[in-house]
């Protein structure tokens, strides 16, 4: 399995996302740039320029027409995927840490971080006709969620909830209309670093600095599976097809790494059997911690973005598809 190395960023990656068909890969980084790539050969389709700070987060709608990004320059921007035009820029008081299109693409969810006296907010904007009409500057809903800082968030099934992962390791279900916290559960011992939904959003995977990743049922917030590793984790993704695997990755933070050995830092993508909770393999290559992992929607390839500024796209070999776990 030879990876394709995407060298389009000068600083560490913060998030990568495939579109629904998986032919495009979007990557955002601390170097202010948003890149779009052809996933099958690693050719760059283009960039979306305009942010003046580290871009923390990105998402693309299911028809691959609209792209949304959130940045440390206190803005979130809506882009036209096809031509790179900025359609809308929302200005906030603080940085935008997480964005996501809702199921059906009618709304977007934005999470801004608390800073310098400004409280954290969860805001929902209407982007229903974003491609053709001007988008409102006013949110549909704005909440000031109580409790610990929200680090990651995602829409639940049928947009019934917003699932928010928080700094203290807990996960909360938030009502997207009232902002009420429906339920919370203490899942991890340290801050959540990633939260990715399964295809039908009935369960999701979390990764945490406490060195574990967990699969959680959305409705009940019950922990179904736990994958414990030996290194702080930054990202976790569920393989939607082909194999019942999850891919998790992380690595010691730069300040904790005492020696420049890539092995020492544990900068590997680890494959675990989702149901049996057993590690099945590792893919190494990054020489810094892995910050973000995404899996192709048809399970043919996966990509990882690292602190080292590279995105590595791996197309699985044939034996990956024929692999059967011994039972």
């Amino acid at each position: 399995m030879r990876p394709i190395l995407l060298q389009g960023h000068e600083r560490s990656l913060t998030q990568i996302k495939y579109n629904r068909e998986g032919d495009l890969l979007f990557s955002v980084s601390k170097d202010h740039v948003i890149n779009a790539w052809f996933s099958h050969n690693g050719e760059r389709l283009g960039t979306y320029d305009g942010h003046g700070g580290a871009v923390w987060t990105v998402d693309v709608n299911s028809s691959s027409t609209l792209l949304i990004s959130g940045s440390a320059d206190n803005t979130a921007k809506l882009w036209d995927v096809s031509n790179g035009k900025c359609l809308k820029s929302w200005e906030f008081k603080t940085a935008v840490r997480r964005v996501q299109f809702s199921e059906g693409d009618k709304m977007v969810l934005l999470v801004t971080e608390p800073r310098m006296g400004f409280p954290a907010t969860v805001q929902i904007f209407d982007v229903q006709n974003g491609a053709t009409e001007a988008v409102s500057s006013e949110p549909l809903y704005i909440f000031h969620p109580e409790g610990p800082k929200i680090t990651v968030a995602a829409w639940g099934p049928l947009n019934k909830y917003i699932v928010a992962g928080r700094e203290n390791g807990s996960v909360a279900l938030i009502d997207p209309q009232t902002g009420d916290i429906i339920s919370t559960n203490m899942i991890h011992e340290a801050t959540l670093t990633d939260l990715q939904m399964s295809t039908d959003r009935t369960y999701f995977i979390t990764s945490s600095k406490d060195k574990s990743a967990k699969i959680i049922e959305t409705e009940s917030l019950e922990v179904l599976k736990t994958y414990t590793t030996d290194t702080p984790l930054n990202s976790a993704a569920i393989m939607p097809k082909v194999q019942e695997f999850v891919v998790i990755g992380g690595g010691q933070e730069a300040m904790d790494v005492t020696r420049t050995s890539s092995r020492q830092g544990k900068f590997e993508c680890r494959f675990w059997h989702k149901i049996l909770e057993e590690e099945v393999g590792r893919v190494r290559g990054h020489f810094g911690p892995i910050n973000t992992i995404a899996i192709h929607p048809d399970g043919r390839s996966f990509a990882s973005g690292g602190e080292d500024g590279y995105v590595r796209v791996h197309h699985f070999d044939d034996d990956f598809f024929t692999f059967k776990f011994q039972i």
């Binding site: 032919d23 099934p157 049928l158 039908d200 060195k211 149901i275």
Partner: protein, 646 residues
Amino acid sequence: MFIEFENAEQANLAVKLIDGFKMDKSHTLAVNRFTDVEKYAAVEEEFHAPAEEEFIEKEHIRSWLADEMGRDQMVVYRHNEVQVLWNMQKEQPQIAHNKSHWTETYVQWSPLGSYLTTFHAQGVALWGGESWKKIIRFVHPGVKLIDYSPNERFLVTWSNEPIVVPEENYDGPFGPEDEGNQIVIWDVKSGALLRSFPSLAPQAPSGRSTVSWPVFKWAPSERYFARVTPGSQISVYEAPSMGLLNKKSIKVEGVVDFEWAPTSGTDKSGKVKDDMLAYWTPEVDNQPARVTLLNIPAQDIIRTKNLFNVNDCKLHWQSQGDFLCVKVDRHAKNKKITYSNLEIFRVREKDIPVEVVEVKESILAFAWEPKGERFAVITTSDPNFTAAVPGSTTLKTSASFYYLDKGKGKDTLQSFKVIKTLTGKSCNTIFWSPKGRNVVLATLRSQTVWDLEFYDLDFEPLESAAAKVPTGGEKDPAAYLQLLSSGEHYGVTDIEWDPSGRFVVTSASVWRHTMENGYQIWDFKGQMLYKETLEKFKQLVWRPRPKTLLSKDQIKNIRKNLRDYSIRFEEQDMESSSLVSSAERQRRRQLLEEWSNWRQRVEADLVSDRAAAGQQVAAATAEDEEAEVVDEWIEEVIDEKEEIVA
């Protein structure tokens, strides 16, 4: 004379300071408290026998030896959790006992494995038996180091805090004579304090100022223990009376160190011989350095050997006390180049002949084969080698194995000869199997290399086994030395053979670094059986076993019929492995089933929810569009040439 003090403390202080003060040769001042008079007047005249305590049967402290599968135990200490585990070879070790916060600093087994010692601020506690109950505890505040006598009868504890005996209402073990002492000797069975000793004052800055432990070294008979006062004397004490042998220390000008012979042996009539110790003194003025063998308690000097140009000596006894090897670090006349010699005393022979094995290089490590006549040395001539900072750089080393060539006939001299020298290595430590024959050479405490090499010294090549080399024929010992396998354990810090000599544990402890802490179990052939990575892993120690009760003949008999036994054990192994895997399969099947049931339920719920919400069910599942096949043609012009065709 009566003196009244303001308060009780002052009075106590006065008693402490002035009682027993010598006024002159024949007059001593005695000071007593006035209340003592009342106290002793009130002592009852009649003796009351104390109530007899009911006998409580104790657990068998060697119960683990009765394990059906003959497995060995080990103790694993991680974070603040201590586990006693059964070695399961390839499987995850089975927990025999498990307790968090069992110890505060580290754990230590007694030499025969009967007790597990845990360390606490107030002292040490000994645990054992099947249920791992506390057997006894020894109060010694601030205890840091302990040492057992060879047969677990006595325990020596050392604390960096001098003992302070509180004045009032004190029911601890210490009396006024223990005040200020740092070393205590206890009777393990009764828990009684036998005697306490002061620590020797730290040496001059030029000398080693750290505590060298054990301070008291025990003779194998357990009848004597001794300590050295560097530069002046060796003090031999008798056990259990704790008195100084012959009431005086053995004065040895300049003595640096000594070692007891590990077994005293028996003479022809079967009577146990005297214990023996060896010590060495460095060069002083015009006197040469000297190694001396001394009989205890007779204190007869059995043998001395003078040595010249000596920098340092290390005494290595072979495990049965048959040989004493003195590793001598020498300097050439110009005092610049150092090299090492081995002076081997053949203790069992008449007049104790000494053989000198010249090694041109500096010796990093030396180890006798347990119960054998072979030894291994690791040498280096690397210019980076400085004895002061071991392990700072990875050195180029060579490893040599030596054997005792018996010679032929009676006249030829026996001598130690090289079996083989392996050059271009980086190893710096030698770990012999406790049963001899197998040895692991390892590179420890290096920053970049973590090599392990497993050797067999009696390897029988298959062809020669078939050809049956005639016994007594000329054989090359090097042909029997075989590298079985080499491996690597990233970040390894410690290595230990299990007491049976079948398994080796390599571990990476958080005490030295925080990289990939945990342990690996290998078999003697160098195959890795099991690996466990544990956050904050600190320590793994095999539980020692007591000496075998089988006679030599019985062992020989077992060896002869090994084939029959091995068939039985192989069957057992097969059985247990298939048992495990079927249980594992069962577990996996169940997990898969649970998951698919849960998925069915959740998916059904989702469909009904969608319907209720008025959304199209199809909308979410309409992802079955035909996958688009992208054909990509890449044309690359490698070379273009134009040729005119005629």
